[in-house]
């Protein structure tokens, strides 16, 4: 197996009709599907597919796409998913290497360009990489191993049943002869890829790497020595540097601009207007004026010297203070009913007592440490783009469309991502680079976003008002549950008329609450978007989990019960709940049979987190424990936060215990790392994070006004407890589900410590004396 061969030349692939991932979540909105050019008729003819089968371009498991072996024995494994800190460039190749019986010290990892026909789906989001590609990557490694075994048997002229691959060699058991993978590579490559159903997968007991957590990060050494290449680090001969002045209001555009002063700045070469893109935003650049220069600093100075007047358009009045009132008013009235079990109104009327609470969570920005950045070059009718992209195939398709080229003539190289969190699923910056390269006659141009660009022109996490009501029995147990969730939908980024949350947003923890409550009514009143709304790590789970898990704790307090015991009672006995009976038609794109909501697993993480935290222990004054649990991305997570609040209202977090049941793990150390990181991000969301608008403009410019958690305020000790899984059972997600339980667990802990209930995030100075 020398250079990877284009797998499309062989009939190995079961691929789906090409369409982008975001269209899947909005499949019920036929009009929108037509509006962006995908015939709804095709969809109607398709049987519903789940998991990786249901993703655009599905999966590929051919070793011809992913594995090459050099004659010196070096095994190169292609990673087709984007690395943004979740460890996928270690995890995916580890799966292949294990089944391949490769020696990890002789494995190199190559990054796939955007090419889903060859590699399968590459949209690195939705906490899907491992759960969708564990099985295809195992088969890929097993197929390559089988080809090497067959080549050795042929060389020795012995039955293949007598040979066995073992740690980078093939062994002839009866004679003890061995041949290295390098020696066999060429002969193995010429053999047919074995049929999928004939493959012999390893017994998980024999895994060398999977589940062991002993391999270091493949990029660790490069990262700590400054060699790792991120999107912002691309350097090409003759490259120019660009920054862009973008409209400060969503839907705004350039009215007039004057470039003369900018062109006087030393190093500035050209000023170029980028065409406006009126809403819907889609993944398009918002337009504006680019300054192209010898280096980034000169471009930034040139931009400062531009004189631009903006036509702000219809969102010029967007004001977060006023909008909060609008959302809260909507949450007080009934709206679209999205789930209705029993009769909430009758049960509430007959209840012993009633409770209600309103919660509010603001917009957030991803603020990846590496701001968006991309480089493009056009030559001989072909365009190459380099950048930090979560969705390289979408980048490729959209660059091609914008340049009027065929996607075959566009190559998208994926660098490391300096953080993603959903921001880099939207490749507007890649399209900007391509447009600017074209404006410079194809010369390579790198566009770099500054921090204020990143905060001012993001795809923001939505802003929500969550209204909850419950009727409880004489013991305080809820018998009636009403949740109204009001938030501008991500769909608005593709269809400005959309005002209701989509199935994929409702399925993020509001509609699919698996509580043992007979009368449940979930409503979704309308909300209008005035900014680009996008996916942010764990998405709508953040407001939904915050409201639900805070409210359960409020009900526990009202009932005078222990919050953990009360939460377990509300979850009810261990049972498998079909998501369909909860009104969740989406179920994270997974089969409702393979992935029911398992309340036993939810109970278990609550119990594990509580036990490990020492739940019930006596704490000094000003300290408290809070618990929350949430099911998302088909994983179950519970957190116990221990908080200390001093006389001045300053919050510190000595310890957090997180229990995670994501099924079996490929790389337990990275599961821990993702939980630790999610915990810190959850603390940032709870304590500091807020993007607000005034006059249509974002009020935060940099990390002084958009604050994120720093070391001194981060939890001092984060203990992650992984519930053991079974490799024969479906896996869950890891990258996102750790975030949602943290803000409610923290606020529940603050209540335990101080008696003060936080219903509006961020906490910021609400506890200050």
């Amino acid at each position: 197996m020398s250079a990877p061969v284009d797998s499309t030349t062989r009939p190995l692939i079961v691929a789906n009709v090409s369409r982008r991932r975001f269209l899947q979540g909005i499949s019920t909105l036929g009009g929108l599907v037509l509006a962006v050019g995908y015939p709804s008729a095709i969809r109607a003819q398709e049987a519903k597919k789940y998991g990786a089968d249901g993703m655009p371009n599905g999966w590929v498991d051919s070793p011809l796409a992913f594995v090459s072996i050099a004659e010196d024995g070096t095994v190169t494994i292609v990673c087709h998913r984007s690395e943004m800190g979740q460890g996928v460039r270690t995890g995916m190749p580890m799966i292949v290497a294990d089944e391949l019986e490769a020696d990890w010290n002789r494995v190199r990892v190559a990054q796939a360009p955007g090419d889903e026909k060859k590699f399968g789906n590459q949209d690195t989001d939705g906490s899907r990489s491992t759960r969708h590609f564990f099985e295809p990557m195992r088969r890929c490694g097993a197929a390559a191993r089988t080809m090497l075994e067959a080549a050795a048997a042929e060389r020795w002229k012995v039955p293949v049943s007598e040979v066995e691959a073992e740690n980078h060699q093939v062994l002839h058991r009866p004679t003890g002869r061995r041949l290295g993978y390098g020696t066999l590579a060429k002969a193995a490559a010429s053999r047919p890829v074995p049929a999928r159903e004939t493959l012999r997968l390893k017994d998980p007991k024999k895994f060398r790497y999977i589940g062991k957590g002993q391999l270091k990060l493949i990029d660790g050494r490069d990262i700590v020595t400054g060699k790792a290449q991120y999107g912002i680090d691309t350097r090409l001969d003759g490259m120019l540097y660009a920054v862009v002045a973008r409209p400060p209001v969503y839907g705004g555009k350039v009215a007039t601009f004057e470039a003369a002063e900018a062109l006087k700045v030393p190093g500035v070469q050209k000023v170029v207007q980028i065409e406006d893109s009126p809403p819907p935003a889609h993944f398009n650049p918002v337009g504006g004026v680019a300054v192209i220069a010898r280096n980034t600093w000169a471009a930034m100075q040139g931009r400062q010297a531009l004189k631009i007047t903006w036509d702000d358009g219809p969102n010029a009045g967007y004001d977060s203070v006023a909008f909060k009132a609008t959302l809260e008013e909507a949450a007080r009235k009934s709206g679209k009913v999205v789930r209705n079990d029993g009769d909430f109104a009758a049960a509430a009327a007959g209840a012993a007592r009633r409770h209600e609470a309103d919660y509010y969570l603001p917009h957030l920005a991803h603020a990846t440490m590496e701001p968006p950045a991309a480089t493009a070059r056009i030559a001989n009718g072909k365009c190459e783009v380099w950048g930090c992209f979560q969705s390289p195939q979408a980048t490729r398709d959209l660059v091609a469309k914008r340049l009027g080229m065929s996607a075959d003539d566009v190559t998208v190289h994926v660098t490391l991502l300096g953080g993603g969190f959903g921001r880099k699923s939207k490749p507007d910056y890649g399209i900007e680079a391509a447009v600017l390269s074209r404006a410079m006659d194809g010369k390579p141009v790198k566009v770099t976003w500054t921090r204020d660009d990143d905060l001012h022109n993001g795809y923001y996490h939505t802003v929500s008002a969550e209204h909850l009501e419950a009727g409880v029995d004489a013991q305080g147990k809820p018998v009636a549950w009403l949740h109204r969730s009001v938030a501008p939908t991500i769909i608005s980024t593709f269809n400005p008329a959309a005002k209701n949350q989509a199935p994929f947003e409702l399925g993020l923890g509001v509609i699919n609450v698996p509580f043992a409550i007979p009368n449940v009514r979930i409503e979704n009143p309308e909300a209008t978007a005035h900014a680009r709304i996008g996916w942010f790590r764990s998405v709508s789970n953040i407001p939904h989990a915050f409201a639900i898990q805070s409210f359960v704790a409020e009900l526990a307090a009202a009932a005078g019960r222990d919050p953990k015991d009360f939460l377990l009672d509300v979850i009810g006995p261990a049972r498998q709940v079909s998501p369909e009976t909860l009104g969740d038609t989406w179920n994270h794109g997974e089969s409702p049979e393979r992935y029911p909501v398992d309340t036993g697993r939810l109970r278990r993480v609550v119990e594990v987190a509580a036990r490990q935290s020492g739940w019930g222990k006596t704490l000094p004054k000003g300290r408290g424990l809070g618990i929350a649990a949430h099911y998302s991305f088909v994983s179950y997570i519970a957190a116990v936060v221990e908080v200390a609040v001093d006389d001045q209202g300053v919050v510190t977090i000595p310890r957090v215990d997180m229990a995670v049941d994501c099924g079996a793990c490929v790389n337990p150390d990275r599961v821990r790392a993702q939980m630790e990181g999610a915990c810190v991000m959850g603390v940032a969301v709870a304590t500091l994070g807020e993007i607000s608008f005034k006059g249509g403009r974002v009020e935060q410019d940099n990390f002084n006004s958009y604050q994120v958690t720093r070391m001194a305020d981060a939890p001092r000790d984060i203990r992650v407890h992984i519930v053991p899984g079974d490799y024969s059972k479906p896996m869950g997600g890891v990258g996102e589900p750790g975030v949602p339980p943290i803000p409610p667990a923290l606020c529940n802990a603050i209540f335990a410590a101080t008696g003060k209930r936080i219903r509006r995030l961020p906490i910021r100075d609400q506890l200050k004396a």
Partner: protein
């Protein structure tokens, strides 16, 4: 022409004196290990050493570091402290996305140079200028302690 001494290499750059060291390193000299994060000394991603002291290169004009000894992430491993920290970082699996880690390492190297065995509070104080959005803080703290212990740091 401004004479710079970067990682022991002396070179002249033909740029306006107010050009920040960050962009000079990254765009003109090809040393991209030093990262841009905020441009206002708020996040620490751009931290380098000037005469052994951690400095935010994004707000440091090159005119201010003419003939001063600048060391970046690319060369910090040549010194024992930097080497120990890099090993501890890899061993503890500190990086997630890794983007901020060059700045974290430079800040940590500055800390250990002046305090061989820092306490938790001293680590917090030295490191809280460096943001990690992936949230690797607990591992950064343990890696600093590990490097300190391996170097026989005593209090």
């Amino acid at each position: 022409m401004i004479p710079l001494d970067i990682n022991g290499k002396r070179q002249n750059v033909d740029l306006p004196g107010e050009t920040p060291l960050l962009w000079t390193l990254r765009d003109e000299l090809g040393l991209t290990g030093t990262k841009f994060g905020c441009g206002m000394a708020l996040c620490g991603a751009c931290t380098v050493h000037v005469n052994g002291q951690p400095v935010r290169s994004c707000i440091t004009p090159i005119s201010a570091v003419a003939n001063q000894k600048v060391v970046t992430i690319e060369a910090i491993g040549n010194a024992p402290i930097g080497k120990a920290l890099q090993a501890a970082w890899v061993d503890a699996g500190v990086p997630q996305c890794g983007y901020c880690q060059a700045g974290q390492l430079m800040a940590a190297a500055g800390l250990l140079a002046r305090n061989a065995k820092p306490s938790d509070a001293e680590i917090d104080e030295a490191m809280s200028g460096n943001i990690c959005r992936c949230g690797t803080y607990t591992r950064i703290r343990s890696a600093i302690k590990q490097a300190s212990a391996r170097r026989g740091g005593t209090r």
